[in-house]
Symmetry: C2
Subunit: 325 residues, 2 copies
């Protein structure tokens, strides 16, 4: 059995917990929280909730610590800190800061003889793998990533910060015409606006100025101003009834040539009922890899690029060759 701990019990932590249950060779040993552990009830019977103070002692009986924190402030600090004590894995997704994060985790993990897998999930993660495989196989080509239809939690949060907004769910939606052109192998140049539209379902305070809220959303820099955005005002009941899930997905489409006019299109696509449960599932498979690789003596920071696929599976090499090859 591979023993894992979960640090942080938000959407992702709960997704990891659900994913662990699907893997009979992986055992959840504890959930760690910075809050008072007595205030937290988890879904897995018989598994303790512990304070991060326990974790900090470095004596917890776990093979891998799965760190479910935010990329903005939690992970840059937490992942190197715990890589000095345990094998760790995170889903760090602030793209521009990956080199620094990788270095920090690498230094801490190597010094401790541990492994730290960073930026694991579906993007970065499975989508990254597909960009790499496709570009290695067809060096003369171009990749496109489309997200959605799905809920962007970052954009939903941004709208919630607007005065008069009680709740929001923001869907990112690929533009069908752009998808068609890319799938056709046309390799078009596409602006931000041409690739995705954004749709917001907003619960506003009673008496709020809806026109102002709509305008503040549509003109919000970085988040919405470069997109065609639709805003719908709905009731709290409608929000609960129609928008309580966190579906997501998208496609990586790569098209390239092998000789003049001979084209190939590779597409990897995901349709996910629950973004956190799928992300958690990817992380759990790579946690298995982390435990195995460390047992073989490997140390330091790694990404999905550095790990041979067989390490992710509970099946043996013979079984994989017989059933998947």
């Amino acid at each position: 059995m591979i023993k894992v701990g979960i640090l942080g019990y938000g959407n992702l932590g709960r997704g990891v917990e659900a994913a662990v249950k699907m893997n009979s060779d992986i055992e959840l040993k504890a959930v760690y929280t910075r809050r008072d552990p007595s205030t937290l009830t988890i879904k897995t019977d018989g598994v303790p909730v512990k304070s991060t103070d326990e974790l900090d002692k470095g004596q917890e009986d776990i093979d891998v610590l799965i760190i479910c924190g935010g990329s903005a402030t939690d992970l840059p600090e937490m992942t190197p800190k715990y890589a000095a004590l345990y094998n760790v894995i995170d889903s760090f997704d602030t793209h521009a800061n990956i080199p620094v994060h990788f270095e920090n985790v690498d230094k801490a993990a190597k010094a401790a003889g541990k492994i730290g897998i960073i930026s694991c999930g579906w993007d970065p993660g499975m989508f990254s793998l597909n960009r790499l495989y496709a570009s290695a196989v067809l060096p003369n080509g171009k990749d496109y990533t489309f997200w959605g239809k799905g809920v962007s939690q970052g954009h939903s949060d941004a709208v919630r910060r607007i005065d008069g907004v009680i709740d929001c769910r923001q869907y990112t939606i690929p533009v069908p015409a752009a998808l068609d052109r890319v799938r056709n192998g046309e390799n078009p140049e596409l602006s931000t606006r041409e690739k995705h539209t954004r749709e917001c379902f907003v619960v506003a305070e009673e008496g709020a100025d809806l026109a102002r809220i709509e305008n503040e959303i549509k003109t919000m820099p970085n988040y919405f101003s470069d997109y065609d955005t639709t805003v719908h005002f709905i009731s709290a009941d409608e929000m609960k009834r129609d928008h309580s899930g966190l579906p997501h997905g998208g496609s990586v489409i790569y098209s390239g040539e092998t000789s003049d006019g001979t084209k190939h299109v590779i597409e990897y696509s995901l349709k996910l009922d629950s973004n956190p449960e799928f992300t958690g599932s990817v992380i759990v498979a790579y946690a298995r890899a982390a435990a195995r690789l460390n047992k073989e003596g490997k140390t330091g920071a790694m990404t999905v690029f550095d790990i041979a696929p067989a390490y992710l599976s509970a099946k043996s090499g013979e079984e994989l060759r017989a059933h998947c090859l």
Copy 2:
């Protein structure tokens, strides 16, 4: 520069040759043939065509030998034989015999301190990878592989052996209703007939009994009798005009649950203008990996499952993390 040799100059050998040209860090050193080398003209200027007698001496200046033979009789003999002399890679695809082939190549390669990558291409190959990744991430699920629309060379050859047939091109076509059900995450049980149809374009000898030919095709065991097959008789000119390419493709679709009723669908699909050029491109990327892994001291047989993705790319770890992650 990574120096490669190509053994065998049929469709696949020419596909590998085209793929090498797309990779500036890979150099084609020679094409090897069992025929008289003077009878063979290749497309790459300045590259010699040599007899396999030269190869057999074990002194050729190549990092990897790419073996482009048939799975029925060539590869079971050639790959172990040359793995005792060079790093090798093949596209062995007789599924039931993979365990034996793997063992034979492993033994020869290990004894010689070489690497032998077997069963490389898109199926087995990229499709296998996607079956593995998906089943590792979502252990509670099911995979489906659809082939086509594309030319099956094995089925085309089988029809050509019928008395009165001059030429044939057989297209394998996925059944749209089956694709839809699988993409919906229904996880249906599908018979062979429900998954694919077959379409044959046949050039017959003048005066041949077309009804008999059509019947012989449709009732041919293993190849056609389990499928709904359509047969079109066309002229040699129409064959040349409309069916001279070797397009192919298909999809691996995996659907699985992470909790009760929470479904995820993963799809990897290929649309290929040229089956041999794409297969050759996958092989060349893995030839790069073979050269690198052997330089690191790794030996023995491997498949796509055993090789970390970063080894396939000409880019450095830093570049990959910056641009693909």
